[in-house]
């Protein structure tokens, strides 16, 4: 038996061939077998899971026709999503033992739909990183090669879907933290339009960039999860009130007649040849489906990275000020309050977090604000304008998700080289536009992702293009060794 999709499991739950408990048993057993190698979980929520599985059984019995397709199906949550009473650490030592007294909106919507929570997944500390090596609780193995990283920061959420433990999970994407690990682990990963999914209950990294999104095995599953969690939330003032398009309605519409743009700058010299070949092959598949492909230009791609590495650290330096050891989390007690603050934060935060807090504090500090933060905000406008101009010429952008395939753990110890991982994903965060990564090939047995980007609120269009590509290929059906072993 191979890992099944949400769609398949929803059918199986309704024809009586399985039950939520059976699915949860299997998921937990799979996690137990693979955690030694993968370290994808920071907490397994067995008790919560069984409670939800039983409630889901009830829902399915009572209302088999109206129950959500997610009802009774196991899933996992990146450990930056707050769940009432469940340990939530954001991959940081400073939050060890923290149990939020509330549940994030997106998660609550899944719970209301009957989702069954298997656990909280490992991630880079406070979602800062591109390899999940910055977790205070150890790195995550890539199910395709456990000596390699799964990407990041949502590495645990990507790995658990790639390993076949659960059919879907939630992650968060600030500069590529869903799409890049999806690419590196051979699954679908989607970052919706900024404002589409409530950030309430998502532990903030960079507020103007953060967005929650799903990891799934197929684009159709992605659409199912997205429609469940998307939509206005009065608790998040930046969540958009306009109606959400149903991506399922246009999913099968195909790409015939669509104009797709390939940004010249996204296939630059930093792109590994194997990745380039795989992505170019994907372009030909889309052409064969009837799309028109043309080269476009996003000239500020190079400076977008600099913009990102000012704005994200600046916002994070402020967002992380609340970790002071007063109301929650761990505290290092010292005779003076100032020393208590210094040591609590000095000991509680890891290197990458400290680096970004330092960088952001510097960029906002007196005398540097105009040169760094204000200038970055202006260039951010330019980045958005360039996307808008391109979207006058084409319906969507297609490009690699990551310039490289999964790299060996410990191979990128220089911060800047790690930051380069996000060079083709972070512009979408700066512009607040949707982007998806869908499997598009392999290089030496390691997955490659194709990224599709569209204008704001064209989330359905992104999924439509990705689905057309997916249906024409079978890369998404290829399984990591851990998923094959699930049989």
């Amino acid at each position: 038996m191979t890992p099944r999709t949400i769609t398949e499991l929803a059918a199986a739950l309704r024809d009586g061939s399985t039950t939520p408990r059976t699915l949860l048993d299997a998921a937990l057993a799979h996690v137990d077998r693979t955690e030694q190698d993968l370290n994808a979980y920071l907490a397994v929520t067995r008790e919560l899971g069984y409670m939800q599985a039983d409630a889901a059984s009830h829902m399915l019995e009572e209302h088999p026709d109206t129950a959500s397709p997610l009802c009774g199906i196991p899933m996992a949550l990146k450990d930056v999503l707050c769940v009432d009473g469940i340990d939530t650490t954001a991959g940081s030592k400073i939050l060890r033992g923290f149990k939020p007294p509330y549940t994030s909106t997106a998660v609550q919507r899944l719970f209301d739909a009957g989702a069954v929570c298997v656990g909280k997944t490992n991630c880079d500390e406070f979602a800062m990183g591109s390899s999940t090596e910055n977790s205070a609780y150890g790195p995550v193995g890539n199910p395709w090669d456990i000596e390699r990283v799964p990407g990041g920061s949502s590495g645990g959420s990507a790995a658990t879907v790639a390993a076949g433990s659960v059919p879907y999970s939630l992650g968060s994407d600030t500069g590529g933290s869903i799409r890049q690990p999806a690419a590196l682990t051979g699954v679908v990963g989607f970052k919706p339009t900024y404002g589409r999914i409530s950030r309430y209950g998502l532990i903030a990294f960079a507020s103007s960039l953060d967005q929650i999104g799903p990891f799934t095995r197929t684009v159709e599953d992605c659409a199912l999860v997205y429609t469940t969690i998307a939509g206005h939330d009065p608790r998040d003032s930046t969540s958009d009130p306009r109606a959400v398009d149903d991506p399922l309605a246009s999913l099968h519409a195909g790409v015939a007649g669509m104009r797709l743009g390939i940004p010249r700058e996204y296939l630059g010299e930093g792109t590994e040849p194997g990745v380039r070949d795989a992505v170019q092959a994907a372009f030909r598949v889309l052409e064969a489906q009837g799309a028109t492909l043309q080269e476009v230009s996003l000239p500020s791609t190079d400076v977008a990275l600099s913009v990102y590495y000012i704005i994200a650290p600046a916002e994070c330096s402020s967002n992380l000020a609340r970790y002071d050891g007063v109301r929650f989390g761990s505290r290092v007690e010292r005779p003076s309050l100032t020393d208590t603050y210094l040591q609590t934060r000095g000991v509680g935060f890891g290197n990458e977090v400290k680096r970004r807090v330092m960088l952001g504090t510097y960029a906002l500090s007196s005398g540097y604000y105009d040169a760094y933060y204000r200038q970055a905000q202006k260039v951010r406008t330019l980045v958005s304008q360039e996307f808008e101009a391109v979207f006058k010429e084409v319906d969507a952008i297609v490009c690699p998700t990551s310039p490289s395939v999964a790299f060996p753990m410990g191979s990128r110890d220089d911060p800047l080289s790690m930051y380069m991982c996000d060079v083709v994903t972070l512009p979408a965060n700066l512009a607040g536009i949707p982007g998806i990564s869908v499997p598009c090939g392999f290089v030496d047995g390691l997955p490659v992702g194709l990224q599709v980007i569209a204008p704001r609120f064209e989330d359905a269009r992104v999924m439509r293009v990705a689905h057309a590509y997916e249906q024409a290929t079978d890369f998404h059906a290829q399984l990591s060794p851990y998923a094959s072993a699930a049989a």
Binding site: C82, T88, Y102, I203, S208, T238, S318, A321, T361, L364
Partner: protein, 493 residues
């Protein structure tokens, strides 16, 4: 020299430049950025909190509409402009009473700018510019175990107050004396309470003031070194702290010294300010736009809607009282001191109590009773309606002044219907000329010596005769009439 003399001498040589910053809590029902109740005094410590005001990981703020309305209302009352675009910013600093490590405030684009406040000081009209009125959130409160801050062993944090809407009103450095500074605050507080946005309690800290003060030699163009003074929790403290600062700065300058830019705290018990923080230690707040809150666009229609909710302001109302009710400037000022006072007055007049009579009683006996019982008229047993019927009885001559006074004192506490009581107890004034004339004759007959004395020119002797008539009527006699009848009778013989 006395303090006043010292200040006067200092003011001769130096020009004092004072600017005030006021923080006023808004009387909303819920907090600024979360729906917790804003009443932080009546709940147990930390009871009025939620994940948002606790600054827990993952939470987001939402803007209280009423707080925006109240701030705009204040700005309009202070003649400010309301720019079409405004936003919130984060002010970053660490302190245990600030859970998020930043305060959501407004930096470069506040809700309102360029207003002013006009008021008289010692007969002169003073106009103080208002730089801006902006909206932010209050912090929590800290209690220090141990007696004083410096020797405390631990600090206790209560976050009930954290997130209460707070308005910052920044005044221009247009004030030139401590007295003017005090008067500015009195007026500002009056306006805020009038328009119903703040309860004006300096002691509890719902209305707080910081002052910036500098001295420069008369005629100098450059401003002197600015000192910020904090910890003043009464109008008197503000005036005393500023006077003390003028003395201190004058001494330094007179001795040829230079002042340092610093923050000083007023220590009430010692009657002086002490240094808290120098410029070198100044904060770097790293303001930046709050990414969790979309900006506000306040169009003209919105501003006009808020303007329509503005009540008549105290100055205008006092002016109208003079015109409409023929009151003196003093009476008009007293009766418009608070909105309740003025509303009460107009309710009495509307209830057919003559304007002058209402003014005299309200600012006299009624004010004294309110003071004595710590209960305003509208919450007393008598109430506004009761007072109106009592005063109508006075106006109609049904009861005399002393009777009205006694009834007022009784009814203020116990309540009751004045007309009914006057009837039941037979308190109505005796003003029948025939009945009183008989009693006057009887009094003269019974007190021949007094009558003789009066006829001999001793005016005082009339008192004894008047008392006799009063007693004979059980105190209900129309005494002015008795007086007239007695004089007529005594002089005709």
């Amino acid at each position: 020299m006395t303090e006043t003399a010292t200040i006067a001498a200092a003011l001769d040589r130096y020009e004092v430049v004072i600017g005030l910053e006021v923080h006023a809590q808004l009387l909303t029902r819920s907090k600024m950025f979360c729906p917790c109740p804003a009443d932080y005094t009546s709940a147990a410590p930390n009871a009025n909190t939620c994940p948002v005001c606790l600054g827990l990981p993952g939470v987001l703020p939402t803007i209280n509409q009423e707080a925006v309305d109240f701030t705009v209302r204040t700005a309009l009352a202070l003649h400010c402009d309301i720019p079409p675009f405004t936003k919130f910013d984060r002010k970053n600093y660490f302190y245990p009473d600030l859970p998020k490590g930043y305060q959501i405030s407004q930096y470069d684009l506040p809700l309102s700018v360029s207003g002013h406040l006009e008021f008289p000081v010692g007969g002169d009209a003073v106009r103080c510019g208002i730089t801006r009125v902006h909206l932010e959130e209050d912090t929590g409160t800290m209690h220090h175990a141990g007696d004083v801050l410096q020797s405390a062993t631990s600090s206790l944090i209560d976050l009930n107050r954290c997130g209460v809407p707070l308005m910052e009103i920044v005044g221009e450095p247009d004030l030139r004396t401590p007295e003017a500074a005090r008067e500015y605050l009195v007026r500002l507080r009056q306006i805020l309470t009038y328009i119903g946005v703040n309860d004006g309690n300096l002691e509890k800290g719902s209305f707080r003031c910081d002052a910036n003060i500098s001295l420069r030699p008369r005629g100098a163009q450059e401003l002197g070194v600015k000192v910020e003074v904090k910890n003043m929790n009464s109008f008197r403290a503000v005036q005393r702290a500023l006077e003390s600062e003028i003395e201190r700065q004058t001494e330094v300058l007179d001795a040829g010294g230079t002042l340092v830019q610093e923050t000083r705290g007023w220590v009430e018990a010692q009657g002086r300010t002490i240094s808290q923080r120098s410029k070198e230690q100044a904060h770097d707040y790293r303001y930046f736009p709050e990414p969790d809150l979309p900006p506000l666009r306040l169009d003209a229609a919105f501003v006009e809607r808020v303007r329509a909710t503005l009540p008549e302001l105290p100055e205008a109302r006092a002016h109208r009282f003079q015109q409409q009710y023929g009151l003196t400037a003093y009476d008009a000022a007293v009766l418009t001191d608070t909105r309740d006072e003025a509303d009460t007055y107009e309710a009495l007049v509307a209830a057919r109590v003559p304007a002058k009579l209402a003014a005299n009683w309200q600012s006299g006996d009624v004010a004294a009773l309110a003071n004595e019982h710590h209960v305003p008229l509208q919450h007393s047993g008598l109430g506004i309606d009761g007072l109106a019927s009592l005063l109508r009885l006075v106006d109609a001559g049904t009861i005399n002044g002393p009777t009205a006074k006694e009834l007022l004192a009784e009814l203020y506490v116990s309540g009751g219907n004045p007309e009914g009581l006057v009837r039941d107890r037979g308190l109505a004034q005796v003003s029948d000329t025939a009945e009183l004339s008989a009693l006057v004759d009887a009094a003269i007959t019974a007190n021949p010596a007094a009558a003789a004395d009066f006829r001999a020119g001793k005016q005082r002797a009339l008192g004894q005769l008047m008392r006799a008539v009063k007693e004979a009527t059980g105190g209900k006699a129309d005494m002015p009439l008795v007086n007239r009848l007695l004089r007529e009778r005594l002089l005709e013989q």
